[in-house]
């Protein structure tokens, strides 16, 4: 089933095909996991939230998929799940209680240390990002996940022009805030890909 497109798999899942949904999980779990981490600065929490995003997506599998990839839609679900994550976790509490405890695999000391560093670094970013309006934050995090303008628009159910203007405003403001807060802004450059039309046509 690995060669099927997201669109085909989604159609199968809508009909109740668990295996098809499992392939979508294989394909997108890592992206959803990293998205949830960046919103919470907590790797363990991100793992539970990843489960919740896919459980929630399964509940809402009747929704039509816009575009070719399921990722924008999944991140749209994730935006809502992480927004009030106390409530989301509570809603799926009993399901999460059935997650198997971690298998007895060796811990890699440098991996553990690296994850702790990540959490500290991410908390610093979040402290600055928290000063942006929430709708700008949503767009920014989706773009950091590598979605194009069109994909963000589909995932968040917004017009493309709105995504474009929010993103440009968010980036400018973030740079300003970082400097005011005494940071150098050295974000990895992962600007949203413009798949249609030229750059620069920012809407007001």
């Amino acid at each position: 089933m690995g060669e099927h497109s997201d669109r085909d798999l989604w159609a199968l899942a809508r009909g109740g095909d668990r295996a098809a949904f499992g392939v979508l999980f294989e394909r997108h779990a890592r992206s959803v996991y990293n998205f949830c981490f960046r919103r919470t600065a907590d790797w363990a929490l991100a793992e539970d939230l990843t489960s919740v995003v896919f459980l929630q997506a399964w509940r809402h599998r009747d929704m039509p998929l816009r575009g070719e990839s399921a990722l924008p839609w999944l991140l749209g679900v994730a935006v809502n799940v992480v927004r009030d994550h106390h409530r989301s976790l509570r809603r799926f509490r009993q399901a999460l209680q059935r997650v198997a405890p971690p298998a007895d695999l060796p811990d890699f000391a440098d991996d553990v240390a690296g994850r702790i560093d990540d959490e500290r670094a991410m908390r610093e970013v979040l402290a600055v990002v928290a000063q942006l309006p929430i709708r700008d934050r949503d767009v920014l995090f989706c773009s950091w996940s590598g979605l194009s303008y069109e994909e963000i628009a589909a995932g968040l159910d917004l017009p493309v022009g709105t995504v474009r203007s929010r993103l440009s405003r968010a980036r400018a403001r973030l740079r300003e805030l970082a400097e005011t807060n005494g940071h150098y802004l050295s974000m990895e450059r992962t600007p949203a890909r413009a798949t249609v039309g030229p750059e620069g046509g920012e809407e007001q």
């Binding site: 499992g22 990843t50 509490r93 059935r98 198997a100 695999l105 970013v125 929430i134 974000m187």
Partner: protein, 328 residues
């Protein structure tokens, strides 16, 4: 001294965890499909009065609802009392214009379970304050209190696993811009009960949960709870609740804050254990007072004799204020 602001690199899930999470997802999905099939069979269970055990452990007023087994007339009775609330809402003066923020303060508790080894649970009390403007902007404050063990076995298991932190004690505060807290556009909802029923049923069916009645009651509760529902919509919501398949009258109850009200409920096992989702309201004023979750069967992950309250939320203060710094 300026430090670098950097995005940490992306990582894989820890070794083995992605496979475990996938396995879990597949099992949970299978469960929702099974629940769907098993629903008719399980619905016949009689329901007993809430156990004093849970109430005593919570340190809150114990609710002992009177309910007959063999719930023949329960749906009709539930419908009658819900319609009384609907009429009360209809008689309220319409809200002219709702500026400012709708404020709600609630106190409650939820169960937090640790499953690394023999599972145990604690009840975490929580205070929640929310300010939400009609455009969805607002502020959310959540404070967790000290966790409570419901039974001695759970405390023992916790001690045996080295007494790790079990949650509780966290405080979170967030502010939201327009759209941040608005999950539902209330303006788009019909106030005609028939149309509203269909719209809520479609949403409940769309979740794929299988137990449509229980999901419908959750949605009605969501809309009555922390929203700016005008009286005519509130009236329609009680009308909808009266028609939910499987809704039963629990009877007169005292909510955990000591207020008299009436409880209606839907039984469900879509979360894996058989529970009752209860909605407690005052039929004379149409105000929603509280929600409760009652565990109806014995499970391995919490030391409590069913039926037992494993979660509740009491809505204490509601009103409209000018800013997210004000309280009514």
């Amino acid at each position: 001294v300026r430090s670098d602001l950097r995005l940490p690199p992306k990582r894989d899930l820890p070794p083995g965890r992605q496979a475990q999470r996938k396995q879990h997802l597949m099992e949970e999905i299978a469960r929702t499909l099974q629940v769907d099939r098993g629903r008719a069979r399980r619905r016949a269970r009689p329901w007993l009065a809430a156990a004093a055990v849970a109430g005593a452990a919570l340190g809150v007023a114990v609710v002992v609802p009177v309910l007959r087994t063999g719930l023949g007339g329960a749906q009709a009775e539930a419908a009658e009392v819900l319609r009384r609330a609907a009429r009360a809402a209809e008689e309220e003066a319409p809200v002219a214009s709702l500026g400012g923020y709708r404020y709600t303060r609630s106190e409650g508790a939820f169960l937090s379970t640790t499953a690394d080894g023999p599972a145990y649970s604690v009840l975490v009390p929580e205070v929640r304050e929310i300010w939400v403007a009609p455009d969805g902007s607002g502020r959310l404050l959540q404070r967790e209190e000290k966790p409570i063990f419901l039974g001695p076995r759970d405390r023992l298991r916790w001690q045996e696993s080295g007494s790790p932190p079990v949650g509780g004690g966290r405080t979170s505060e967030e502010t939201f811009g327009p759209g941040g807290l608005a999950y539902v556009d209330l303006q788009s909802l019909p106030t005609d009960p028939e149309a509203l029923f269909e719209s809520i049923r479609d949403r409940a069916e769309g979740t794929g949960v299988g137990d449509v009645g229980a999901e419908m009651l959750v949605i009605v509760g969501d809309l009555l709870r922390e929203t700016v529902a005008p009286p005519e919509l509130r009236a329609a919501l009680y009308e909808v609740a009266a028609r939910i398949p499987g809704i039963e009258l629990v009877g007169q109850v005292t909510d955990p804050a000591g207020r008299r009200g009436v409880a209606v409920a839907v039984e469900s096992d879509y979360s894996g254990a058989l529970t009752r989702q209860e909605l407690i309201f005052d039929p004379e004023t149409s105000q929603m007072l509280a929600e409760r979750q009652v565990l109806l069967e014995e499970v391995t992950w919490v030391d409590v004799q069913p039926p037992a309250v494993i979660g509740y939320a009491v809505y204490l203060v509601a009103g409209v204020v000018d800013s997210t710094e004000d309280r009514p």
